[in-house]
């Protein structure tokens, strides 16, 4: 039995369920004409950003499946990826072998960090998001300690281009010229003048297929059960804690790989900031795509990347044309990133309450019918 709703109620419900994507569509609809960018430019920029960011955002899907919300702890994986990149830059390993080696180096670090993060999150059930967010900050401190003081002194780093003039610690920026666009440039075709990096898209497609396949496996089904109700899953014989840890480990490892893909496209590593920014922007992009804390799919990833990054591209120029200052657009996009996460979390709670209300109404209606 379902509740009968009027047309206006249905429209309101649709708007309520898709508030964030609609909000972004409106922002983009105003921003695009104001920016004055050509369609071709916008499309090519969006294609670049899909190739650059999608892998990272897909890495967020598995913890959501396991009911652990948005994994702000993906920054741990990003740090592992960056450590891999620092090592290959020091050793002078270039091209795709360099990327693969960075991935191999990042994997054990990501697994260890994911295990540790998963264990902590198991102690903070129901507060996973804020806990993972704080774990990210904590681990950032450890990362800075290792990179700023350990590398060059305890951990051997030979390249003077990487080490600070004082003899230890890594510089603010690391030039990744050796692996810059090495994956993107393997096979690129031009479609209506827009360059499409086919191999990068193939890698992203493989990850999407993996996620879809994974959801159908025993472990994937276990994660879904744990996500829906931990106690029921436990009663069914599922190792709840283990399953949750595995989901975080998978997400962290993929985040490490995603960071390597992201940085090979950019070509420069911002040693002390890249990983923190990427966690925030990936979560925001997924939410813009219409995902919630408890439900996300691949459609949300791509819609989110397109809308969120379209706003990123147009806002500086729109700000400049509107007010005369590109800086305004920069502030606007940072403000929007934080704002969208806040709106999404508030809306999620509102929706949860509304659904509970609907369930109550449905129950009351069923009881009325029975009497």
């Amino acid at each position: 039995m379902t509740l009968q709703r009027t047309k206006s109620q249905k429209v309101l419900r649709f708007l309520g369920n898709n508030t964030v994507p609609i909000l972004f569509l409106v922002i983009c609809a105003f921003g695009i004409p104001l920016s004055g960018y050509s369609t071709n430019y916008l499309v090519s920029e969006v294609v670049v950003r899909i190739a650059r960011n999608s892998f990272l955002i897909v890495s967020l899907l598995i913890p959501i499946l396991a009911g652990m919300g948005l994994n702000f702890g993906m920054t741990l994986g990003a740090m592992a990826g960056q450590i891999g990149l620092i090592f290959i830059s020091d050793w002078g390993i270039v091209g795709i072998p360099g990327m693969l080696l960075a991935m191999i180096i990042s994997t054990p670090i990501s697994i260890a960090l994911g295990l540790w993060c998963g264990k902590i999150l198991n102690m903070a059930k129901g507060r996973e998001m804020v806990t993972s967010y704080i774990i990210g900050f904590f681990m950032n401190g450890i990362y800075q300690l290792v990179v700023l003081y350990g590398m060059g002194s305890i951990i051997p780093i030979r390249s003077s281009a990487l080490v600070l003039p004082r003899g230890y610690g890594i510089r603010n920026t690391v030039n990744l010229i050796g692996i810059r666009k090495s994956l993107d440039n393997v096979l690129t075709i031009k479609l209506f003048g827009v360059p499409i990096p086919l191999v990068t898209f193939a890698v992203i497609a493989l990850l999407c297929i993996f996620v879809l396949w994974f959801k159908k496996t025993k472990l994937g089904q276990d994660m879904r059960s744990v996500g829906q109700d931990m106690e029921v899953a436990r009663a069914a014989g599922i190792k709840v804690e283990h399953t949750r840890i595995v989901s975080i480990v998978i997400s962290t490892v993929f985040a490490g790989y995603g960071m390597i893909l992201y940085l090979q496209n950019i070509g420069t590593l911002n040693t002390y900031n890249s990983h923190m920014q990427i966690g925030m922007f990936s979560v925001a992009a997924l939410l813009v795509g219409g995902a919630t804390v408890s439900k996300a799919n691949i459609r949300n990833v791509f819609l989110g990347v397109i809308l969120f990054h379209l706003m990123f591209i147009v806002s500086p120029m729109a700000g400049k044309n509107l007010i005369g200052q590109a800086q305004l657009g920069e502030y606007f996009r940072v403000f929007v990133s934080y704002g969208v996460i806040t709106i999404s979390l508030v809306l999620y709670e509102v929706r949860k309450k509304r659904d509970r209300g609907d369930a109550g109404q449905l129950l009351a209606a069923e009881q009325g019918e029975a009497e």
């Binding site: 390993i93 191999i104 600070l164 003039p165 002390y272 900031n273």
Partner: protein, 160 residues
């Protein structure tokens, strides 16, 4: 927790070994070396070997480089084994071309090949014409100013 040496354990060990070997392979095939091609007069074992007036040098299938006397150029390569093809005209105006294989030591970032030495005896051991090159101190010395490390992305707001 007691470790079980069952089939799963050995499969996992084998997987780790395969990944490590793959990583080593990536290291070997992805390591970049800079090869300096030097066409300058050089003295080897007390004997002066004069620079060639004009020589065409090709490393692997990279673009050919033309070097006049006292010229130096560079190529970036990956992997250890390479081929160098040298084409020049001798004093009798005969065009001579030969190819020589060589191996760059794995951990060397930069090596220098003396073209005149190689041309004088193409069959000689590579240690005679290929040697490690270290950048002069002034080239690698970092700027005297200490770099300010920014570890906080909100640090920029302090200046506002």
């Amino acid at each position: 927790m007691k470790m079980k040496f069952d089939r799963q354990f050995w499969v996992r060990c084998a997987a780790i070994v395969v990944v490590l070997l793959f990583g080593m392979l990536m290291f070997f095939i992805g390591k970049q070396h800079t090869i300096l091609l030097d066409n300058k007069t050089i003295t080897v074992n007390g004997q002066e070997i004069r620079a060639l007036q004009l020589v065409e040098v090709q490393v692997n299938k990279l673009e050919s480089l033309e070097l006049a006397a006292r010229d130096r150029d560079k190529v970036d390569v990956t992997r250890q084994s390479h081929k160098i093809t040298i084409t020049y005209t001798d004093s009798n105006w005969n065009e001579i071309s030969f190819t020589r294989k060589f191996k760059v030591p794995l951990m060397e970032e930069m090596v220098i090949i003396s073209i005149p030495t190689l041309v004088s005896d193409p069959e000689a051991d590579q240690s005679l014409w290929l040697e490690k090159y270290e950048l002069p101190a002034y080239a690698i010395q970092a700027s005297p100013e200490e770099e300010v490390v920014i570890t906080d992305d909100l640090a920029g707001l302090i200046s506002l």
